[in-house]
Amino acid sequence: MSNNEINFEMALDCFLLAGRIMIESGAETYRVEDTMLRMARSLGIEDAQSYVTPTGIILSIGKKQITKITSISNRITDLHKIALVNNVSRKLTNKIITLEQAYEELIKIQKTNYFLPISLQLLTAASAGSALMILFGGLWSDLPATFVAGAVGFIVVTILHDLTKVKFFSEFLAALFIGLVAHFAVKFHLGTEIDKIIIGGVMPLVPGLLITNAIRDLMAGHFTSGISRGAEAFLTAFAIGSGIALVVVAF
């Protein structure tokens, strides 16, 4: 494909969409920039420039072409989408598919919800919390209480996030409910160690990915992204901590 045949506007939209899906799914900033610039170079656009932060992307594909901005407000962790976008970019770079096909595939990826059924997610969130409780040295007799606490926390955070769209609030209330479940479990002798039950219950909410990605972004020289991801992680940790703290203080 020679340089003149490329539909530059579609190319720009295509790269921007790829970057947007990746940021919204929780990919690292340097990987997003790398993917977009790789796709651009494979089409012969050598002087593409990008500026990626977790809240927006600016992409320019040359002096004579237009520059576009996209703003991003929602970020979740969706590894399936990252893998799919990576696959599309790999195919485009190796010239297996054309730009039009890549753009169509990306639009399809953006619209589809790849998450497993919510009941299965609930089950896994609860079992993840219980398994981690055992790993952290908890008692086997606390397993049912942790399972219930993890499930309650996951239900609350999912429902409230759908209703309010305020991440801080839903995480705060989820942590509050986990604390209450743990407290009453110990009170009615269904569990022994309240600390271990709470830790197991909140583990599915803990921003482990955010913290790690923040430090990795900082190390790659993306200070803006690193600091803002770090702030997001700190807010989440603070929400969980204050939810639990309320229970500890109240009882």
Partner: protein, 161 residues
Amino acid sequence: MDYLIQFIMSFIATASFGVIFNAPIKAIPICGLVGSVGWMGYYSFLQVNATEVHATFLASFVVAVVAQIFARWFKTPMIVFYVAGIIPLVPGGIAYNSMRSIVELDYTSGIEFGMRAFMISGAIAMGLVFAEVIIQLNYRTLNKGKTSMQSFARIKRQKVK
């Protein structure tokens, strides 16, 4: 027996986190395997009297190496495999203790727990980055592609020239 329980439990925990983070379905058992290998590393290092920060660093190094191998095998981004794998290493319990001490107005131990949590999360990220760079050097001597962080740095360098 103890090791077996730890292995099974860490497998369950990480594979479950694979589901929560929506890893591709065929990658979920691999996520579990990466996580349990990393946790077994952490557990064994603790048994030989390593401190928790050192053990976390070495374990996340192991996680990154195993994840990198699987990432090249399945031609999938490395993030898919290591994200769930580092979850058992995340200092959730220590961060909780820090928060709880601060609420109970015991600031001294609150800061102490907080610093421990900070050091451990730093160790996780350091382990991941070290492993990625070392593997990249290794592959470059074998002349076989590169990690995205390195190729990103290379593009930036070319621009400066």
